[in-house]
Structures are given as C-alpha cells and as structure tokens.
Symmetry: C2
Subunit: 601 residues, 2 copies
C-alpha cells in the first residue's frame, strides 16, 4: 500500500488563512515565525512522516510488541523492527521540541505549528505517534508545575525526545473516576517520596525506544483528604538520574503485563507496578494534594492532540480508500459507457467526499482551537489571554469528542470503499478501523467530554463562551453574505439556520437543567456532536469564502481553491444537515432516556 503523503497544501491553508496568522507572528517569542518557516517545516516533516514513520505502520501492527518476562522482575517490552531507530532520528532531528520553551532546549515555536507536524506523525503511524503525544503532556505538566531543579534535571532530555513521558491515572478498580484512587505516596526525609500501587492503561509505560521513561503518577499521601482533593502528582523516573543528568540506578517500578488490544498493536499499553521492593522514588510535582489540577494542565492539551489523532487517521484512511477507488475497476458507472474505476460511481464519490469533508472540517476546527493555546499563553494583553483561555476551554471537548468520532467513522467508510478487500487485513483499511476505535475512549471518554461541554463549559459560565462563539459564527455569516458568489450564498443559506438551532439548544439546556438533573447527561452527547458539526460548518464557510475570493482573482487562482469550494459545499449539503437530527433528539429531553427501569435493561 502507498505511504502517507501529508496534505501540506490543506495544512498550510488552514494555518495561513483560517488562523490569525498575523496575530500569531506578532506574539512575543515568535520573532522567527513566518509563512516561509511554516512551509519549510511542514515540508521537512512531511518527508520524515512519509519516508520514515509511515513505512513502519503496517509492519508494526502485524509484528506487534513482544513482552519479555525477566527474572529480576524488570520485564521488558520490545517494539517492532525499526521503531527505535525512527524514534532516535525523530529526536536527533528535533521534531519533539518544536513548541517547547527555549529555556530547556525547546524551539519556542507556536503550538499552532507543532499541531500540523504532529498531525503528520499520527497519520503516518498512530501507535508510534502516541509516544511523543504522551511525552508532550508530561513535559507541559512539569514545565507548569515542577520545581526548577526538577525541570533542569528532566526537561532537557524529555524535550529533546531522548526520554519519554507517561501519564499514570487509571487504576484497576476505576477508570474515569479519580475520586477512588488508591496508589499511595509516603514522604521521606530527603524530601522525595516513595510510591506504591498499580496503574493500568499506561501508554508507552515500558519499551526500548528511549533511554529513560518519566512517569507522572497520581497518588495519595497518608494524611490526604478523601476524594479528588487528596491526590498529588509525582514524577517517577524508570531510572533515577545522577547529577550529570544521566540515567543511573533502576527505580522500583516495572511493567507487569501489556494489554492485548483491538488496535494500536505497536503501542504498549502497560500495567505498571510501583513500589514492589520498598517504594518507587518519586518527586512531587506542584503542591501536595493539588495533583489533579497539575494533571489537568497536561490533560487539556493531550485532549486536543488526541482529537487531532482522529483527524490524522481519517486523512490516512481517506488516502488509502481514494487510491483504491481510483485503481479498482468495476462496473459501468452512470453516464459512462464502459467499465471504469469505482471512483466513477456516485455512491463511492459520496463515501470519499464524506471522508474528505469530515477530515478537512475537523482539521480546521482543531488547528484554530490550538492556535488559541498560543494566544492564551503568550499574548501580552490579559483580556486577550482570557478570551482565548475561554475559547480553548470550550473547544477542547469538541476537538477531542467530535474529531475522535470522525476517526472511526471515516476509517469505517474507508473499509467499505475497499469492499471485500477492506475486511482483509492486507489492505490496511482494517488497521485504521481497529486503531481508531480507541480514540473515543482514551483521554476522557466522549461521554465525559460531552458532560464537560454541557456542564462546565456551557452551564458553568451561564453560556457566555457559547454566546461569544455563536456571535463569531454570525460575523462569518455576515462576511460571507457580502460575497456575491452563488455557491457561497447557498452555503450561507445552509449554514445560518444551524447557528440558530445551536443557540436554541444551548438556551434550552441552561434553562432545562435548572429543574431536570437528568437533562445534561441525556442530551450531552448529541449536543457535543451538534456543536462539532456546526463548528465544522463554520470553518468550512470561512474556508469557502477565502477560497472563492482567491479563486476569482487570476493572480491567486489555483486548483486547490476550486477543490476547497467543492469540498466545503459538499460538507454543507451532506454533512452539516446532521444537526437537524441532533437538534430534534436533544429537543426530546431526558424523558425517554430515563424511563426504562434499571432492572429491565
């Protein structure tokens, strides 16, 4: 099968035209950031993704991981052939350090530029790409919360990519619920801690791809208050680090087993044990009992990048299906006189365009949301920072939830385009279908994302962040109305009523939840999906408006813009109308969801 070819043109379009690129350039610390730099970096990254990372994807899935039990208890996980070398090259080339602080060796580039680059790793090889994804989260948590000494000791190697980071939240008895966490931490005289407990679902918790693994572990101190307010965050390295910054003594933590999963077979999902022999050495990150807040600082961006994975795998699945559809002869399509490739059949076009439109729309939503991370962190004006802070908070569950529903949907369509071949592993379509299925689950299930959206992000501020978003959608409508192009007008006609419907749903949620405790949970998933579809429509309308103007000027016209218009129009006519169902279902409230007796299920 063909290797992944990064859609650099679409990525550049979103970065240059749909983000506030000038604003991004003007942020302090972004002095070296420019359109040329974007182009150069995307170009280089696309080569590495396509030539080095992508070829490992399918063999990695088939070969999988090998777990080697060790007599001394320090079991080993070996990655598929080539993974280690590719990761070393990734670190050597500085791909892991783009967006991090220069103080610890980062390149200080915008998150908004790191995102398309990461988009490429996940598309090229989702299992492999999870290693830097988790590391990024760990680095952020350490940057934001750890002491200077810890930062000096751990960040440079982590940012460079020679050590990876992990997130240790889940325990065997409870998944998403942190309140019942049991892993315990004890204080020692030297100021460090000893950690005891078992954690499950630890992505890249043990492997042979980096020299050290830096675990961030949530645990409870002996005198901690019960519930989520008694959780602290600890840095627990696989190897303790000596004063020269090199891995030294092995710490008391180990992998007990790895999971046998539906997909991402090359990404070790570990059961980790801490403190089987006297306690794993851990260092406090942030304050005692404030661990959950620290962990959230790492989880929020991880939610955005997991959302990104949905888009990445959708792109990959699209490319594979498109190549197959162009190549596979079958049947005489309407309007044709002889047998041709299946892409000529309208229903196959429908499938491919659905894949493409969902991918492009969700990409635009995600990149735009991620650009707010830069503004919220670096903009000199606190009001601007606050605005972007609220925007990221609102869009995070959308990017995570909606995009990760798109990943499996698009991958499944990709299987379908292949017909019987799609069900045969060798086509590669099945791997995307299997791999992508984790996305709606990890980093907070989409049920949890939807509750976050309905409760904290909508009801929590009385709907203010939503109102501001809706106001901007209306500005886009007004701008597009000034464009006298017929297709753009048709798109506006399709899009405008969806915004009205969104406003109504938001108002009904806020009002209804006052008297119906079951309402938010009953409607939240459909609310999230409706928001996602409409945010996608919003960005597609913005994209169409830009594309149409570029296309109508002979100086800037290019096939890319014509295609963008076609894809955006398809989105408005064939994807956006899903909001009608979501709105109707939400309108029915909680009654039928809550009616059936629990023991009747």
């Amino acid at each position: 099968m063909a290797e992944y070819k990064a859609p650099v043109d679409d990525m550049s379009f979103v970065v240059n035209e749909l983000l506030d690129f000038d604003g991004l350039e003007a942020l302090p610390g972004h002095e070296e950031f420019s359109s040329e730099l974007v182009e150069a970096i995307l170009d280089e990254a696309s080569k590495f993704a396509g030539q080095v990372v992508s070829p490992l994807n399918w063999p990695g899935d088939q070969q999988g991981l090998s777990f080697k039990e060790a007599e001394d208890g320090f079991n080993e996980v070996h990655t598929p052939e080539g993974f280690k070398e590719a990761y070393r090259q990734f670190a050597d080339n500085g791909w892991g350090s783009l967006q991090f602080e220069p103080d610890y060796g980062g390149q200080g580039l915008p998150f908004a530029l790191a995102i398309p680059v990461q988009d490429m790793w996940h598309a090229a090889n989702m299992a492999w790409g999870l290693c830097p994804l988790l590391s990024q989260g760990a680095i952020e948590a350490i940057e934001a919360n750890a002491t200077e000494e810890l930062k000096q000791r751990f960040l440079p190697k982590m940012i460079a990519g020679y050590w990876n980071g992990t997130m240790n939240l889940t325990e065997p008895h409870a998944g998403s619920d942190m309140a019942t966490l049991k892993t315990r931490a004890e204080r020692t005289e030297d100021g460090s801690y000893r950690i005891f407990g078992q954690k499950i679902f630890i992505t890249w918790g043990e492997h042979d791809m980096t020299e050290n693994v830096i675990h961030l572990v949530l645990a409870r101190l002996p005198d901690a208050p019960p519930g989520v307010k008694g959780i602290s965050l600890f840095l627990v390295p696989k190897f303790l680090v000596d004063d020269d910054g090199n891995p030294a003594e092995r710490n008391d933590c180990r992998v007990l087993s790895i999971e046998h999963k539906i997909g991402i077979h090359a990404s070790p999902t570990c059961v980790m044990s801490y403190g089987d022999n006297g306690g794993a050495v851990g260092y406090l990150v942030g304050e005692e009992n404030r661990g959950l807040a620290c962990m959230f600082s790492m989880m929020n961006n991880a939610r955005l990048t997991v959302g990104l994975q949905g888009i990445s795998i959708a792109e990959r699945a699209y490319q594979l299906a498109r190549d197959f559809a162009k190549d596979r002869p079958q049947g005489v399509a309407p309007g044709e006189s002889s047998i041709g490739p299946i892409i000529k059949h309208p229903d196959v076009r429908r499938m491919l365009l659905t894949m493409r439109a969902l991918t492009e729309a969700s990409r635009a939503v995600a990149y735009v949301a991620c650009s707010s991370v830069d503004f919220r962190t670096k903009h000199p004006d606190p009001a601007v920072r606050a605005y972007h802070d609220a925007r990221v908070a609102l869009l995070t569950p959308i990017v995570k939830g909606w995009s990760t529903e798109i990943g499996p949907e698009v991958s499944s369509i990709g299987v379908q385009v292949h017909g019987g071949m799609g069900f045969v592993e060798e086509s590669g379509a099945g791997q995307h279908y299997r791999d992508s299925r984790i996305l709606p689950i990890y980093e907070g299930t989409n049920g949890i994302q939807s509750m976050d959206l309905a409760e904290r992000k909508t009801r929590g501020d009385g709907g203010r962040a939503m109102d501001s978003l809706i106001a901007e959608m209306r500005e886009t409508i007004n701008t597009a109305r000034e464009n006298d192009n017929e297709r753009v007008q048709n798109m506006v006609d399709l899009f405008a009523p969806s915004v009205d419907a969104l406003l109504k749903v938001k108002d009904d949620l806020i009002a209804g939840a006052e008297t119906d405790v079951y309402l938010p949970g009953s409607i939240s998933f459909n609310y999230l999906m409706m928001m996602g579809i409409i945010c996608g429509g919003w960005q597609m309308l913005r994209a169409a408006n830009v594309a149409q103007r570029k296309q109508s000027d002979p100086a800037t016209a290019a096939p890319f813009y014509a295609n963008k218009l076609d894809t955006a129009h398809f989105y408005m006519a064939n994807i956006l109308p899903r909001y009608l169902s979501y709105a109707a279902i939400i309108g029915a409230g909680s009654a039928t969801t809550m009616a059936l007796a629990e023991d009747a299920f």
Copy 2:
C-alpha cells in the same frame, strides 16, 4: 464473559403479534405450526445457542483457523476446538432443516420460524453460524433449479446439515461485478461439466466440520454470450457422491489459502481453485447461461439472513454492554448520592437504549419481511403471492442494508460502554466490533443494496411497491390514533411526518432521475438509511400499540409490555429523527457529490 441468552420474549412477541400469525398458520403445509410450537422451538434453540454455540465464540476468535498445506495439493483447514462437535450436534438435532421441504427431509416449518432460530446462532457465534447460512442459500438454489436427480443426490444430506453448501461468485479481478467473470466450464459426453478457475472470498469453502462441501459455482461455457447473460451455475462437490449417496472420489477442487481478516476469525474465507488437474466435475443447476438468475434465488434469502446477522450481533453486543454497565461502579450519577454502576449515568442509558431500540426495531422489520417469504411461496391466492413477492423484493435491501449498518454501529457503542476495557480484546466487545464489520460488505455491499432499492425496487415499478408500503404505514398511524394513550399519541406525532417525508423523497427520486443520471447513486445510500429508520419506526409504533393495549388490560399486563413501550418511545424520540438529516441530504441532490473533479480526489 456471560454467554448469550436469546431474547425469546422479544422474538415471540414479534412472531406472535407483529407478523400475520393467523395467516401463517393457515398456509398449506403449516398444519403443525402453532404458537405452542413456536414457544417450544425457540426455547430449545435458545438452550443450544446459549449452552453449546455461544461458549465457542470467544475461544474460536482467539484460536482462529489453522491452514495445513498438503503435499497432494488438497490443503486442509482446521476449525477451532469444539466447532466440529457443535456442528454435528446441530445437524443431529435437526436445527438445519426447519424450513426446508419435507420431500428431501426438511421439516416444512415457516421461514418466519427459522429466522428467530437463526438469529440465535448468529448471535451466539457469528463465524460458526455462517456455515448454515451459506448452506441454506445453496439448498434453496438447488431446490428451485436443479434436476430431480441432483436434488435426490445432494439435498437430503445438505438439509440434514451433514454437508454444507457454498456460493462461488467472486473472482480475484472483480468483486461485485459479475459481467467480467472468467471461470470456465466445459461440456463432457456424460452430461456433466468440467470447471476451471479461481474463486475468492468463499465462506466455509474448506474445513473439517462436515463430511462434504457442496460448491455452487458460477462459470462461463465456451460458447456463452459475453456479460451476465453468459453465466451458468454448477454444483461442484468436494467429494463426488456414489450411488449410495456417500462421499467417494475427491473432486478436482481445493483451497489455496484462507484470508487474514479483521474479524470472524473462525470462519474460513477461502481462495478456491477448480480444475488444476483436468477439471473439477460439475453438474449444471438450471439452464445453461441462466446461472445468474439461479444464483439470485439463493442470494435473495441470503441477503435477508445476512441482514439478520446485523441484528443478532447487535443483540449480543447489547447484552455484553448491559451486563458490564450494571456491574461496573463508577462516579456518582445525577440524582444519586453515592458511587453506583455506570448504568445510572444518563449518557450510558442513552448508549444502551440506542443499542436496544435499534436491535428491537430492526428485528421486527426483518422478521416481518421474512414472513412474506412464506406467503409468497405458499399462499394459494396468486394475488397474495404477488403482493408478498413485491414486499420481500422491496424490503430485502432494507433488511440487508439497514440492519448491517446497525450491527457495527451497535457493536461500536458496545465497545464505548466498556470504556478502556472495551479496547482490550478480553472484554469480548472488540470481537463484535471486528466481526460485524464484514456485514455491510458481503452479500452485496450496502452501496449495491441501496442502488437496488433506488433503481430496481423504487424506480423499476414506478414506485408502486413503495406506495403500498407507505399506505400501510398510514393505516398503522390511523389505528394508533384510535388509541387514546398519551404516549402512543406522542409516538404517532413523531412518526407521522416521517412518512410524509418518505413519500416526498420517493417522488423526488422518481421525477429527478428522469433528467439526472447521477441522482439515484448520489442519494441511494441515504435513501436506504431513511427507509430503514422509518420502517423501524413503523414496526415500533405497531409494537407500542399492541403493547399498550396488552398493558392496559390487567389480564394480559406484563413487564415486557411496559418495557416495549419505553423502548419504542425512546426509538421515536432518539432514533427516528435521523430521518430529518437523511431527507435534507437527499434533498440536496447530486450536485455537490458530482462536483469535485476526479483527479482532485
């Protein structure tokens, strides 16, 4: 994990209340058919499914098949432990022969009774159940088309279940397109034929579960006209059969390899080779060059039963997810004061009810459609036969297409309910997700089903069969309006506009296709899905109406009816509204589907 427990109450309800049970009883040959017999058979079948077939499902997936290359070329496929014994028991108990003609050892029972029984096999073990599914199709094709001599020689053992049947259509160079078929047949002096060629995707083409394998093979005679009008159907046994009816000499056909698939790991998908050593002996079934028509007689019921598989696996996935949700403690749900099982969370209820409502609705649609098979075959009045013939023809692509979209959808929700555990193979949720993915593909992809619905079944008769269906939906609405129960009225209010929308879509399709050759293919998939959702709503309204009347009479009231009302109401409020999106997307026509240039994909 828990074994499958057949939903005998729901199956009996559909058979007794939603089918024309009295009409079925009155059909010639159904003298022994009764409500008591239904109960007894479903009861016995549910034990066999739950105790014998279901326990083999998960181990069968994990163990998979083993392919043994043989020096003499007759390679072997070995099934997982226990499969062979269970299949022998299945045959010994007569489970394979329920609906077949008594002339060849069948039990002459209604297809409408065989269907719930088959529903159980597929739910218990989809890979295993494919063997009788394909056999049924082969038996039907032989019954309908073969000479008496062939019938006498092959049918008794096939109907009894000691030999299985296969369908050999697909060849390596083309999947769904029969016109380019290359396998060839030569006449011999004794009236038999010699077959040469390769076939792929042959389900249960070679294995150790039965004494003989009876292949039905499409091939082309030397003087056959080109295209689909030059295809003949041949019966090619693995072992030739002697005059005593026993397997004798090995025929010149063999398995070359088996596919490495996403799911149904225990069902061999074979590459078959015919005639490597002088030609495989084949017997003509039906007339020369009329093979496709013969094959369709087998494919039509197979399409119904593949649709059934979607429902079966949905039921299985529902049961697994429900058990998990009742068992898994996590978080404090709204309105609760302490941590409880996740089923208490409204979003989990939404997921489970979506699974349940889709399963019950599609089951009712499928069983009702299958009952028309009995009427069309056995009713003494040609007008009644014609009516049911048209009804089966119309509903076949719905049952196949819509139900097989439901299988993967429901299985995917099942994974989601399990959270992280769902992605781990040991939960069993992933197997359903993987297994079910074949359903929208085989036995005619759902794209092909949708074209069949739009072109042959709707445009082909000028919309008459659709008009008759819509008229019956309106009768149901009128009947339900006479029920003064408030919930039933609410359901009618939700359902009635969907029927109007369906009528409009049908009219627009017929009118629009006159001038737009791209229209049917552009909208057909959404048209199929819209039809499915509305047919499901129709049956759920019928069910609710019956359930409400039973429930309001103390003599018949039972928890089952209360639950049916709740589930039907959930369907109307939460599932049926999907038609709004389908209708809007269909309304946009073909323009945006056809706009993007082919080389721009």
